[in-house]
Protein backbone atom coordinates (compact mmCIF):
# COMPACT_ATOMS: atom_id res chain seq x y z
CA UNK A 1 0.00 0.00 0.00
CA UNK A 2 2.81 2.30 1.00
CA UNK A 3 4.59 1.71 -2.34
CA UNK A 4 1.38 2.23 -4.33
CA UNK A 5 0.81 5.55 -2.54
CA UNK A 6 4.35 6.69 -3.27
CA UNK A 7 4.09 5.78 -6.96
CA UNK A 8 0.78 7.62 -7.22
CA UNK A 9 -1.15 4.44 -8.16
CA UNK A 10 -3.66 5.19 -5.45
CA UNK A 11 -4.39 7.97 -2.98
CA UNK A 12 -4.85 7.98 0.75
CA UNK A 13 -8.43 9.20 0.29
CA UNK A 14 -9.12 6.22 -1.97
CA UNK A 15 -7.56 3.76 0.52
CA UNK A 16 -9.42 5.33 3.42
CA UNK A 17 -12.76 5.18 1.57
CA UNK A 18 -12.13 1.54 0.72
CA UNK A 19 -11.61 0.68 4.39
CA UNK A 20 -14.55 2.80 5.57
CA UNK A 21 -16.76 0.96 3.04
CA UNK A 22 -15.46 -2.37 4.29
CA UNK A 23 -16.23 -1.33 7.88
CA UNK A 24 -19.76 -0.23 6.88
CA UNK A 25 -20.29 -3.58 5.12
CA UNK A 26 -18.98 -6.06 7.69
CA UNK A 27 -18.59 -4.39 11.07
CA UNK A 28 -22.24 -5.03 11.96
CA UNK A 29 -21.13 -8.71 12.04
CA UNK A 30 -17.61 -8.35 13.48
CA UNK A 31 -18.22 -5.41 15.86
CA UNK A 32 -14.55 -4.47 15.98
CA UNK A 33 -15.18 -0.72 16.26
CA UNK A 34 -16.75 1.28 19.07
CA UNK A 35 -16.47 4.55 17.16
CA UNK A 36 -15.74 5.22 13.48
CA UNK A 37 -14.52 8.69 12.63
CA UNK A 38 -15.18 8.81 8.84
CA UNK A 39 -15.13 12.55 8.40
CA UNK A 40 -11.93 13.17 10.29
CA UNK A 41 -10.26 10.12 8.66
CA UNK A 42 -11.04 11.45 5.18
CA UNK A 43 -9.74 14.89 6.19
CA UNK A 44 -6.48 13.40 7.44
CA UNK A 45 -6.19 11.39 4.22
CA UNK A 46 -6.83 14.44 2.02
CA UNK A 47 -4.14 16.34 3.89
CA UNK A 48 -1.57 13.59 3.28
CA UNK A 49 -2.52 13.48 -0.42
CA UNK A 50 -2.11 17.25 -0.67
CA UNK A 51 1.28 17.09 1.06
CA UNK A 52 2.39 14.32 -1.26
CA UNK A 53 1.30 16.33 -4.31
CA UNK A 54 3.58 19.19 -3.26
CA UNK A 55 6.50 16.77 -3.22
CA UNK A 56 6.88 16.89 0.57
CA UNK A 57 8.97 14.04 2.02
CA UNK A 58 6.58 11.72 3.90
CA UNK A 59 7.06 8.76 6.24
CA UNK A 60 6.48 5.19 5.06
CA UNK A 61 3.07 4.98 6.75
CA UNK A 62 1.79 8.40 5.66
CA UNK A 63 -1.75 8.01 4.33
CA UNK A 64 -2.18 4.43 5.60
CA UNK A 65 -5.41 3.82 7.59
CA UNK A 66 -5.20 2.42 11.14
CA UNK A 67 -7.53 1.12 13.86
CA UNK A 68 -6.83 2.42 17.38
CA UNK A 69 -7.59 0.55 20.59
CA UNK A 70 -10.01 2.59 22.67
CA UNK A 71 -7.58 2.57 25.61
CA UNK A 72 -5.55 5.42 24.06
CA UNK A 73 -6.63 9.03 24.50
CA UNK A 74 -7.31 10.92 21.26
CA UNK A 75 -8.22 14.59 21.55
CA UNK A 76 -11.91 15.28 20.93
CA UNK A 77 -12.72 11.65 20.05
CA UNK A 78 -14.80 9.47 22.43
CA UNK A 79 -12.42 7.31 24.50
CA UNK A 80 -13.99 4.75 26.85
CA UNK A 81 -11.48 1.91 27.46
CA UNK A 82 -14.52 -0.31 26.90
CA UNK A 83 -16.11 0.97 30.11
CA UNK A 84 -19.48 2.54 30.80
CA UNK A 85 -17.82 4.74 33.40
CA UNK A 86 -16.14 6.67 30.56
CA UNK A 87 -19.08 6.67 28.13
CA UNK A 88 -19.07 9.91 26.17
CA UNK A 89 -15.74 11.16 27.55
CA UNK A 90 -13.71 13.11 25.01
CA UNK A 91 -10.11 13.59 26.12
CA UNK A 92 -8.77 17.15 25.97
CA UNK A 93 -5.36 15.86 24.82
CA UNK A 94 -3.62 13.27 22.61
CA UNK A 95 -1.72 10.33 24.02
CA UNK A 96 1.90 10.26 22.83
CA UNK A 97 1.14 7.23 20.62
CA UNK A 98 -1.65 9.17 18.88
CA UNK A 99 0.53 12.28 18.55
CA UNK A 100 3.24 10.15 16.88
CA UNK A 101 0.72 8.51 14.54
CA UNK A 102 -0.64 11.91 13.52
CA UNK A 103 2.87 13.30 12.99
CA UNK A 104 3.63 10.31 10.73
CA UNK A 105 0.52 11.02 8.65
CA UNK A 106 -1.23 7.79 9.67
CA UNK A 107 -5.00 8.00 9.11
CA UNK A 108 -6.94 6.98 12.26
CA UNK A 109 -10.20 5.30 11.19
CA UNK A 110 -11.68 4.94 14.66
CA UNK A 111 -11.53 3.36 18.10
CA UNK A 112 -11.74 -0.41 18.61
CA UNK A 113 -13.54 -2.56 21.12
CA UNK A 114 -11.72 -4.15 24.08
CA UNK A 115 -12.26 -5.88 27.38
CA UNK A 116 -13.14 -3.17 29.89
CA UNK A 117 -9.92 -1.44 31.00
CA UNK A 118 -8.03 -4.21 29.12
CA UNK A 119 -9.05 -6.80 31.72
CA UNK A 120 -9.85 -9.98 29.87
CA UNK A 121 -8.81 -12.44 27.18
CA UNK A 122 -11.87 -12.51 24.91
CA UNK A 123 -13.25 -8.94 24.50
CA UNK A 124 -16.46 -10.26 26.10
CA UNK A 125 -15.86 -8.01 29.12
CA UNK A 126 -16.48 -4.87 27.07
CA UNK A 127 -19.22 -2.64 28.43
CA UNK A 128 -20.47 -2.36 24.84
CA UNK A 129 -20.85 -6.05 23.86
CA UNK A 130 -18.37 -8.54 22.42
CA UNK A 131 -16.33 -8.53 19.20
CA UNK A 132 -16.60 -11.57 16.93
CA UNK A 133 -13.70 -13.50 15.40
CA UNK A 134 -13.63 -12.99 11.59
CA UNK A 135 -12.51 -16.64 11.15
CA UNK A 136 -15.67 -17.92 12.87
CA UNK A 137 -18.26 -15.44 14.08
CA UNK A 138 -19.37 -17.74 16.92
CA UNK A 139 -15.93 -17.42 18.51
CA UNK A 140 -14.06 -14.70 20.37
CA UNK A 141 -11.10 -12.89 18.76
CA UNK A 142 -9.20 -13.13 22.06
CA UNK A 143 -8.49 -10.08 24.13
CA UNK A 144 -8.18 -7.63 25.48
CA UNK A 145 -7.24 -5.95 22.14
CA UNK A 146 -9.82 -8.11 20.33
CA UNK A 147 -11.33 -5.20 18.38
CA UNK A 148 -7.99 -4.14 16.91
CA UNK A 149 -7.02 -7.74 16.04
CA UNK A 150 -10.41 -8.47 14.44
CA UNK A 151 -10.27 -5.21 12.43
CA UNK A 152 -6.91 -6.17 10.89
CA UNK A 153 -7.92 -9.81 10.38
CA UNK A 154 -11.19 -8.78 8.68
CA UNK A 155 -9.43 -6.27 6.37
CA UNK A 156 -11.22 -3.35 8.02
CA UNK A 157 -7.77 -1.81 8.63
CA UNK A 158 -4.30 -2.86 7.42
CA UNK A 159 -2.65 -2.05 10.76
CA UNK A 160 -3.80 -1.38 14.31
CA UNK A 161 -2.64 -0.39 17.79
CA UNK A 162 -3.31 -2.55 20.84
CA UNK A 163 -1.99 -2.75 24.38
CA UNK A 164 -0.52 -5.76 26.17
CA UNK A 165 -0.51 -6.15 29.97
CA UNK A 166 -0.58 -9.96 30.15
CA UNK A 167 -0.82 -10.96 26.48
CA UNK A 168 -3.53 -8.60 25.20
CA UNK A 169 -1.78 -8.02 21.85
CA UNK A 170 -0.13 -11.41 21.27
CA UNK A 171 -3.07 -13.65 22.25
CA UNK A 172 -5.68 -11.93 19.99
CA UNK A 173 -3.09 -11.81 17.17
CA UNK A 174 -2.71 -15.59 17.55
CA UNK A 175 -6.47 -16.21 17.62
CA UNK A 176 -7.13 -14.08 14.51
CA UNK A 177 -4.17 -15.21 12.39
CA UNK A 178 -2.20 -11.95 12.30
CA UNK A 179 1.07 -10.51 13.67
CA UNK A 180 1.16 -8.66 17.00
CA UNK A 181 4.06 -7.32 19.04
CA UNK A 182 4.36 -6.29 22.64
CA UNK A 183 7.44 -4.04 22.65
CA UNK A 184 9.88 -3.90 25.56
CA UNK A 185 8.38 -2.21 28.63
CA UNK A 186 9.26 1.48 28.37
CA UNK A 187 9.91 1.39 24.61
CA UNK A 188 6.53 2.97 23.75
CA UNK A 189 5.25 5.86 25.86
CA UNK A 190 2.37 5.15 28.25
CA UNK A 191 1.35 8.84 28.32
CA UNK A 192 -2.37 8.85 27.56
CA UNK A 193 -2.69 5.06 27.74
CA UNK A 194 -5.49 4.51 30.25
CA UNK A 195 -3.76 2.59 33.05
CA UNK A 196 -4.67 -0.95 34.11
CA UNK A 197 -1.44 -2.23 35.66
CA UNK A 198 1.26 0.38 35.27
CA UNK A 199 4.30 -1.87 35.73
CA UNK A 200 3.02 -4.27 33.02
CA UNK A 201 1.10 -2.13 30.45
CA UNK A 202 2.63 -1.48 27.06
CA UNK A 203 1.07 -0.35 23.75
CA UNK A 204 2.17 -2.06 20.54
CA UNK A 205 1.48 -2.75 16.85
CA UNK A 206 -0.66 -5.24 14.88
CA UNK A 207 -0.22 -5.99 11.17
CA UNK A 208 -0.94 -8.73 8.65
CA UNK A 209 2.79 -9.12 7.93
CA UNK A 210 5.96 -8.89 10.02
CA UNK A 211 7.21 -5.93 7.96
CA UNK A 212 3.96 -3.92 8.30
CA UNK A 213 4.11 -4.51 12.04
CA UNK A 214 7.75 -3.37 12.20
CA UNK A 215 6.94 -0.16 10.31
CA UNK A 216 4.21 0.70 12.79
CA UNK A 217 6.46 -0.27 15.72
CA UNK A 218 9.08 2.21 14.51
CA UNK A 219 6.52 5.04 14.28
CA UNK A 220 5.18 4.68 17.85
CA UNK A 221 8.39 3.81 19.76
CA UNK A 222 10.87 6.21 21.30
CA UNK A 223 11.71 8.12 24.45
CA UNK A 224 9.05 10.42 25.92
CA UNK A 225 9.76 12.76 28.84
CA UNK A 226 6.02 12.66 29.67
CA UNK A 227 6.37 9.01 30.77
CA UNK A 228 8.74 8.58 33.71
CA UNK A 229 9.29 4.91 32.82
CA UNK A 230 10.11 5.59 29.15
CA UNK A 231 13.54 4.24 28.14
CA UNK A 232 15.94 6.90 26.91
CA UNK A 233 17.70 4.91 24.17
CA UNK A 234 17.52 4.64 20.38
CA UNK A 235 14.63 2.60 18.93
CA UNK A 236 15.88 -0.88 17.95
CA UNK A 237 16.26 -1.29 14.16
CA UNK A 238 13.06 -3.30 13.77
CA UNK A 239 12.32 -2.45 10.12
CA UNK A 240 15.84 -3.39 8.98
CA UNK A 241 15.53 -6.68 10.93
CA UNK A 242 12.15 -7.43 9.33
CA UNK A 243 13.75 -6.96 5.92
CA UNK A 244 16.79 -9.13 6.65
CA UNK A 245 15.15 -12.18 8.24
CA UNK A 246 18.32 -14.25 8.47
CA UNK A 247 18.51 -16.79 11.31
CA UNK A 248 21.66 -18.71 10.35
CA UNK A 249 23.64 -19.54 13.48
CA UNK A 250 21.03 -17.98 15.76
CA UNK A 251 20.24 -19.90 18.95
CA UNK A 252 16.53 -20.42 19.58
CA UNK A 253 15.50 -21.65 23.04
CA UNK A 254 12.33 -23.69 23.52
CA UNK A 255 10.87 -23.14 26.99
CA UNK A 256 10.09 -26.51 28.53
CA UNK A 257 7.41 -25.10 30.84
CA UNK A 258 5.37 -23.48 28.05
CA UNK A 259 4.11 -26.60 26.27
CA UNK A 260 2.65 -30.00 27.05
CA UNK A 261 -0.36 -30.39 29.36
CA UNK A 262 -3.19 -27.98 28.60
CA UNK A 263 -1.90 -27.21 25.09
CA UNK A 264 -4.15 -28.26 22.21
CA UNK A 265 -2.70 -30.99 19.92
CA UNK A 266 -3.02 -28.86 16.78
CA UNK A 267 -1.31 -25.93 18.50
CA UNK A 268 1.69 -28.08 19.45
CA UNK A 269 1.82 -29.64 15.96
CA UNK A 270 2.05 -26.21 14.27
CA UNK A 271 4.55 -25.02 16.87
CA UNK A 272 6.86 -28.00 16.27
CA UNK A 273 6.53 -27.62 12.52
CA UNK A 274 7.72 -24.00 12.81
CA UNK A 275 10.67 -25.14 14.94
CA UNK A 276 11.65 -27.62 12.22
CA UNK A 277 11.47 -24.84 9.63
CA UNK A 278 13.69 -22.55 11.72
CA UNK A 279 16.18 -25.40 12.16
CA UNK A 280 16.18 -26.00 8.40
CA UNK A 281 16.97 -22.30 7.91
CA UNK A 282 20.15 -22.74 9.94
CA UNK A 283 19.01 -21.81 13.45
CA UNK A 284 20.17 -23.93 16.35
CA UNK A 285 17.31 -25.16 18.55
CA UNK A 286 18.06 -25.65 22.26
CA UNK A 287 15.83 -26.61 25.20
CA UNK A 288 15.72 -24.23 28.15
CA UNK A 289 14.30 -24.62 31.62
CA UNK A 290 12.31 -21.85 33.36
CA UNK A 291 10.96 -23.54 36.50
CA UNK A 292 9.36 -20.42 38.05
CA UNK A 293 7.12 -19.87 35.01
CA UNK A 294 4.75 -22.35 36.61
CA UNK A 295 3.92 -19.63 39.13
CA UNK A 296 3.71 -16.72 36.67
CA UNK A 297 -0.07 -16.85 36.26
CA UNK A 298 -0.64 -16.77 40.03
CA UNK A 299 1.83 -13.88 40.46
CA UNK A 300 0.21 -11.95 37.61
CA UNK A 301 -3.29 -12.31 39.03
CA UNK A 302 -2.07 -10.72 42.25
CA UNK A 303 0.16 -7.99 40.83
CA UNK A 304 -2.19 -6.77 38.08
CA UNK A 305 -5.35 -6.61 40.26
CA UNK A 306 -3.36 -4.91 43.03
CA UNK A 307 -2.13 -2.22 40.68
CA UNK A 308 -5.59 -1.87 39.09
CA UNK A 309 -7.33 -1.45 42.43
CA UNK A 310 -5.12 1.58 42.94
CA UNK A 311 -5.18 2.90 39.34
CA UNK A 312 -8.95 2.72 39.01
CA UNK A 313 -9.44 4.77 42.17
CA UNK A 314 -9.28 7.78 39.82
CA UNK A 315 -12.80 7.01 38.60
CA UNK A 316 -14.43 8.86 41.45
CA UNK A 317 -17.30 10.67 39.65
CA UNK A 318 -15.78 14.06 40.43
CA UNK A 319 -13.62 15.31 37.55
CA UNK A 320 -14.69 13.34 34.47
CA UNK A 321 -16.73 10.34 33.43
CA UNK A 322 -19.99 9.05 34.81
CA UNK A 323 -21.70 10.52 37.89
CA UNK A 324 -24.82 8.89 39.26
CA UNK A 325 -26.77 8.65 42.53
CA UNK A 326 -26.70 12.40 43.05
CA UNK A 327 -29.90 12.74 45.06
CA UNK A 328 -30.62 15.62 47.42
CA UNK A 329 -28.07 15.72 50.20
CA UNK A 330 -26.14 12.66 48.95
CA UNK A 331 -22.52 12.87 50.07
CA UNK A 332 -19.58 12.69 47.69
CA UNK A 333 -18.82 9.23 49.02
CA UNK A 334 -22.35 7.95 48.38
CA UNK A 335 -22.19 9.29 44.83
CA UNK A 336 -18.77 7.70 44.34
CA UNK A 337 -19.98 4.29 45.56
CA UNK A 338 -23.09 4.41 43.36
CA UNK A 339 -21.16 5.57 40.29
CA UNK A 340 -18.49 2.87 40.58
CA UNK A 341 -21.21 0.24 41.06
CA UNK A 342 -23.04 1.41 37.94
CA UNK A 343 -20.01 2.17 35.78
CA UNK A 344 -17.73 -0.85 36.29
CA UNK A 345 -18.45 -4.30 34.84
CA UNK A 346 -18.20 -7.67 36.54
CA UNK A 347 -14.56 -8.53 35.77
CA UNK A 348 -13.31 -5.06 36.70
CA UNK A 349 -15.07 -5.25 40.06
CA UNK A 350 -13.72 -8.77 40.59
CA UNK A 351 -10.14 -7.58 40.02
CA UNK A 352 -10.54 -4.44 42.14
CA UNK A 353 -11.83 -6.58 45.03
CA UNK A 354 -9.04 -9.15 44.57
CA UNK A 355 -6.44 -6.36 44.50
CA UNK A 356 -7.94 -4.70 47.56
CA UNK A 357 -7.75 -8.05 49.36
CA UNK A 358 -4.16 -8.79 48.27
CA UNK A 359 -2.99 -5.37 49.45
CA UNK A 360 -4.87 -5.34 52.75
CA UNK A 361 -2.84 -5.55 55.92
CA UNK A 362 -2.47 -9.08 57.18
CA UNK A 363 -2.52 -10.52 53.65
CA UNK A 364 0.00 -8.23 51.96
CA UNK A 365 3.11 -10.37 52.58
CA UNK A 366 1.41 -13.67 51.81
CA UNK A 367 -0.07 -12.49 48.50
CA UNK A 368 1.28 -9.30 46.94
CA UNK A 369 4.68 -9.62 48.60
CA UNK A 370 5.13 -13.24 47.49
CA UNK A 371 4.01 -12.37 43.96
CA UNK A 372 6.68 -9.68 43.73
CA UNK A 373 9.32 -12.24 44.75
CA UNK A 374 8.07 -14.70 42.12
CA UNK A 375 8.51 -11.84 39.67
CA UNK A 376 12.19 -11.69 40.61
CA UNK A 377 12.54 -15.46 40.06
CA UNK A 378 10.93 -15.18 36.61
CA UNK A 379 13.35 -12.40 35.64
CA UNK A 380 16.23 -14.62 36.79
CA UNK A 381 14.90 -17.58 34.79
CA UNK A 382 14.84 -15.39 31.68
CA UNK A 383 18.39 -14.18 32.34
CA UNK A 384 19.66 -17.77 32.51
CA UNK A 385 17.67 -18.74 29.42
CA UNK A 386 18.92 -15.78 27.39
CA UNK A 387 22.48 -16.76 28.31
CA UNK A 388 21.84 -19.97 26.35
CA UNK A 389 19.75 -18.58 23.47
CA UNK A 390 19.28 -15.36 21.45
CA UNK A 391 15.51 -15.67 21.44
CA UNK A 392 13.03 -17.91 23.27
CA UNK A 393 9.91 -19.43 21.73
CA UNK A 394 6.60 -21.06 22.70
CA UNK A 395 3.06 -21.32 21.41
CA UNK A 396 1.37 -17.93 21.99
CA UNK A 397 -1.88 -19.39 23.29
CA UNK A 398 -2.44 -22.94 24.53
CA UNK A 399 -5.70 -23.09 22.57
CA UNK A 400 -7.24 -21.70 19.39
CA UNK A 401 -10.18 -19.26 19.41
CA UNK A 402 -12.87 -20.37 21.85
CA UNK A 403 -16.64 -19.95 21.60
CA UNK A 404 -18.33 -16.77 22.81
CA UNK A 405 -19.67 -17.54 26.29
CA UNK A 406 -17.55 -20.67 26.73
CA UNK A 407 -15.33 -19.27 29.48
CA UNK A 408 -17.11 -16.10 30.55
CA UNK A 409 -18.65 -17.76 33.63
CA UNK A 410 -15.36 -19.32 34.75
CA UNK A 411 -12.71 -16.71 35.61
CA UNK A 412 -9.95 -19.29 36.19
CA UNK A 413 -10.46 -20.93 32.77
CA UNK A 414 -10.32 -17.49 31.16
CA UNK A 415 -7.14 -16.55 33.05
CA UNK A 416 -5.40 -19.67 31.69
CA UNK A 417 -5.63 -18.22 28.16
CA UNK A 418 -2.66 -16.00 29.07
CA UNK A 419 -0.44 -18.69 30.61
CA UNK A 420 2.24 -18.46 27.90
CA UNK A 421 2.20 -14.69 27.40
CA UNK A 422 2.30 -13.43 30.99
CA UNK A 423 5.98 -14.16 31.81
CA UNK A 424 7.10 -11.56 29.20
CA UNK A 425 5.06 -8.84 30.95
CA UNK A 426 6.33 -9.72 34.42
CA UNK A 427 9.93 -9.45 33.17
CA UNK A 428 9.32 -6.29 31.09
CA UNK A 429 10.81 -7.84 27.94
CA UNK A 430 9.37 -8.01 24.40
CA UNK A 431 7.37 -10.64 22.52
CA UNK A 432 5.78 -11.30 19.13
CA UNK A 433 3.05 -13.60 17.93
CA UNK A 434 2.89 -14.57 14.28
CA UNK A 435 0.65 -17.03 12.42
CA UNK A 436 2.03 -20.59 12.35
CA UNK A 437 -0.84 -22.17 10.41
CA UNK A 438 -4.19 -23.72 11.25
CA UNK A 439 -4.82 -26.37 13.92
CA UNK A 440 -5.90 -29.56 12.18
CA UNK A 441 -8.77 -30.33 14.54
CA UNK A 442 -10.64 -27.02 14.13
CA UNK A 443 -9.04 -25.16 11.19
CA UNK A 444 -8.40 -22.10 13.35
CA UNK A 445 -5.20 -20.01 13.47
CA UNK A 446 -2.30 -20.90 15.78
CA UNK A 447 0.22 -18.33 17.00
CA UNK A 448 3.98 -18.82 17.35
CA UNK A 449 5.50 -16.68 20.13
CA UNK A 450 9.03 -15.26 20.00
CA UNK A 451 10.57 -13.55 23.05
CA UNK A 452 13.72 -11.40 23.23
CA UNK A 453 15.55 -9.52 25.99
CA UNK A 454 14.65 -5.90 26.82
CA UNK A 455 15.43 -3.47 23.96
CA UNK A 456 16.38 -6.32 21.62
CA UNK A 457 13.02 -6.04 19.84
CA UNK A 458 14.75 -6.32 16.45
CA UNK A 459 15.43 -10.01 17.16
CA UNK A 460 11.68 -10.68 17.18
CA UNK A 461 11.39 -9.25 13.69
CA UNK A 462 14.52 -11.00 12.42
CA UNK A 463 13.23 -14.44 13.46
CA UNK A 464 9.59 -13.58 12.63
CA UNK A 465 10.48 -12.49 9.09
CA UNK A 466 12.50 -15.67 8.45
CA UNK A 467 9.72 -17.95 9.67
CA UNK A 468 7.03 -15.95 7.86
CA UNK A 469 8.88 -16.10 4.53
CA UNK A 470 9.31 -19.88 4.80
CA UNK A 471 5.67 -20.45 5.83
CA UNK A 472 4.27 -18.16 3.14
CA UNK A 473 6.21 -20.01 0.47
CA UNK A 474 5.04 -23.34 1.91
CA UNK A 475 1.38 -22.19 1.96
CA UNK A 476 1.57 -20.30 -1.34
CA UNK A 477 0.36 -17.08 0.33
CA UNK A 478 -0.28 -15.48 3.70
CA UNK A 479 -2.40 -17.45 6.18
CA UNK A 480 -4.94 -14.63 6.30
CA UNK A 481 -5.87 -15.34 2.65
CA UNK A 482 -7.35 -18.61 3.93
CA UNK A 483 -9.81 -16.79 6.21
CA UNK A 484 -13.47 -17.13 5.20
CA UNK A 485 -14.91 -14.22 3.22
CA UNK A 486 -17.24 -11.96 5.17
CA UNK A 487 -20.09 -10.06 3.54
CA UNK A 488 -18.78 -10.55 0.01
CA UNK A 489 -15.43 -10.20 -1.74
CA UNK A 490 -12.24 -9.00 -0.10
Amino acid sequence: MSAALEKGETTSVELTKLHLDRIAAIDPQVKAFLHVDSESALQQAAKVDADRATGKKLGALAGIPLALKDVLAQEGVPTTAGSKILQGWKPPYDSTVVAKLKAAGVVILGKTNMDEFAMGSSTENSGYGPTFNPWDLTRTPGGSSGGSAAAVSAFEAPIAIGSDTGGSIRQPAALTGIVGVRPTYGAVSRYGLIAYSSSLDQAGPFGRTVLDTAMLHEVIAGHDPKDATSINAPVPAVVAAAKSGDVKGLKIGVIKQLQGDGYQTGVLARFNESLDILASLGAQIVQVDCPSFEYALAAYYLIAPSECSSNLARFDAMRYGLRTGETDGASAETVMNATREAGFGREVKRRIILGTYALSSGYYDAYYGSAQKIRTLIIEDYKKAFAQADVLVSPTSPITAFKIGEKSEDPIAMYLADVATIPVNLAGICGMSLPAGLAEEDNLPVGFQIMAPAMQDQRLYQVGAALEAALVSKWGGHLISKAPALGGAK
Binding site: P92, A298, M318, E326, A332, V335, A366, G428
Partner: protein
Protein backbone atom coordinates in the same frame (compact mmCIF):
# COMPACT_ATOMS: atom_id res chain seq x y z
CA UNK B 1 -9.76 -24.62 49.97
CA UNK B 2 -9.78 -20.89 50.56
CA UNK B 3 -12.96 -18.94 50.97
CA UNK B 4 -14.18 -15.43 51.50
CA UNK B 5 -17.56 -14.86 53.14
CA UNK B 6 -20.26 -12.56 51.82
CA UNK B 7 -19.51 -10.15 54.70
CA UNK B 8 -15.78 -10.10 53.93
CA UNK B 9 -16.52 -9.27 50.28
CA UNK B 10 -18.87 -6.51 51.48
CA UNK B 11 -16.09 -5.06 53.62
CA UNK B 12 -13.67 -5.08 50.67
CA UNK B 13 -16.30 -3.51 48.41
CA UNK B 14 -16.77 -0.72 50.95
CA UNK B 15 -12.99 -0.17 51.05
CA UNK B 16 -12.94 -0.05 47.24
CA UNK B 17 -15.91 2.37 47.22
CA UNK B 18 -18.22 0.12 45.24
CA UNK B 19 -21.81 -0.20 46.42
CA UNK B 20 -22.47 -3.83 45.46
CA UNK B 21 -25.87 -5.47 45.22
CA UNK B 22 -26.64 -8.47 47.41
CA UNK B 23 -26.54 -10.77 44.37
CA UNK B 24 -23.08 -9.50 43.39
CA UNK B 25 -21.73 -9.98 46.92
CA UNK B 26 -22.99 -13.56 47.07
CA UNK B 27 -21.76 -14.36 43.55
CA UNK B 28 -18.29 -12.91 44.18
CA UNK B 29 -18.02 -14.71 47.51
CA UNK B 30 -18.83 -18.02 45.78
CA UNK B 31 -16.13 -17.42 43.11
CA UNK B 32 -13.46 -16.13 45.42
CA UNK B 33 -12.44 -19.47 46.91
CA UNK B 34 -11.21 -20.88 43.62
CA UNK B 35 -9.54 -17.60 42.63
CA UNK B 36 -7.69 -17.42 45.96
CA UNK B 37 -6.65 -21.06 45.63
CA UNK B 38 -5.20 -20.30 42.19
CA UNK B 39 -3.24 -17.22 43.28
CA UNK B 40 -2.15 -18.78 46.59
CA UNK B 41 0.25 -20.91 44.53
CA UNK B 42 2.73 -18.04 44.99
CA UNK B 43 3.15 -19.33 48.56
CA UNK B 44 4.28 -22.82 47.47
CA UNK B 45 7.91 -21.85 46.93
CA UNK B 46 10.44 -21.05 49.61
CA UNK B 47 10.95 -17.34 48.94
CA UNK B 48 13.24 -16.59 51.84
CA UNK B 49 16.01 -14.21 50.82
CA UNK B 50 14.43 -13.46 47.42
CA UNK B 51 14.22 -9.74 46.65
CA UNK B 52 10.84 -8.31 45.66
CA UNK B 53 10.48 -6.72 42.21
CA UNK B 54 7.93 -3.93 41.95
CA UNK B 55 8.98 -2.80 38.52
CA UNK B 56 10.86 -4.30 35.55
CA UNK B 57 13.22 -1.34 35.24
CA UNK B 58 15.56 0.40 37.63
CA UNK B 59 13.74 3.67 38.26
CA UNK B 60 15.33 6.92 39.23
CA UNK B 61 14.02 10.37 39.96
CA UNK B 62 13.76 12.63 36.95
CA UNK B 63 14.14 16.35 37.51
CA UNK B 64 13.38 19.30 35.29
CA UNK B 65 13.72 23.05 35.59
CA UNK B 66 10.79 24.66 37.39
CA UNK B 67 9.46 26.61 34.43
CA UNK B 68 5.91 27.00 33.15
CA UNK B 69 5.20 24.77 30.15
CA UNK B 70 2.09 24.68 27.94
CA UNK B 71 -0.73 22.81 29.68
CA UNK B 72 -4.50 22.39 29.55
CA UNK B 73 -6.64 25.53 29.77
CA UNK B 74 -9.26 25.60 32.55
CA UNK B 75 -11.97 25.00 29.92
CA UNK B 76 -10.12 21.95 28.57
CA UNK B 77 -9.51 20.58 32.05
CA UNK B 78 -13.20 20.99 32.91
CA UNK B 79 -14.46 19.65 29.57
CA UNK B 80 -15.23 16.19 30.96
CA UNK B 81 -16.56 17.30 34.34
CA UNK B 82 -19.94 15.89 35.40
CA UNK B 83 -20.71 19.33 36.89
CA UNK B 84 -18.86 22.64 37.11
CA UNK B 85 -19.31 26.12 38.49
CA UNK B 86 -17.12 29.24 38.22
CA UNK B 87 -14.32 27.35 36.41
CA UNK B 88 -14.20 24.73 39.15
CA UNK B 89 -15.32 21.12 39.50
CA UNK B 90 -18.65 21.05 41.36
CA UNK B 91 -18.80 18.04 43.67
CA UNK B 92 -21.46 16.68 46.01
CA UNK B 93 -21.35 17.50 49.71
CA UNK B 94 -18.03 16.39 51.23
CA UNK B 95 -18.54 17.32 54.90
CA UNK B 96 -21.47 16.16 57.05
CA UNK B 97 -23.97 18.58 58.65
CA UNK B 98 -22.33 18.39 62.05
CA UNK B 99 -18.87 19.18 60.68
Amino acid sequence: MSSLSRDEVAKLAALARIEMSEAELVNLSSQFGSILDAVARVQELNLEGVKATSHPQPLENIFREDVVAPSLTPDQALSGAPAQEDQRFRVPQILGEAE
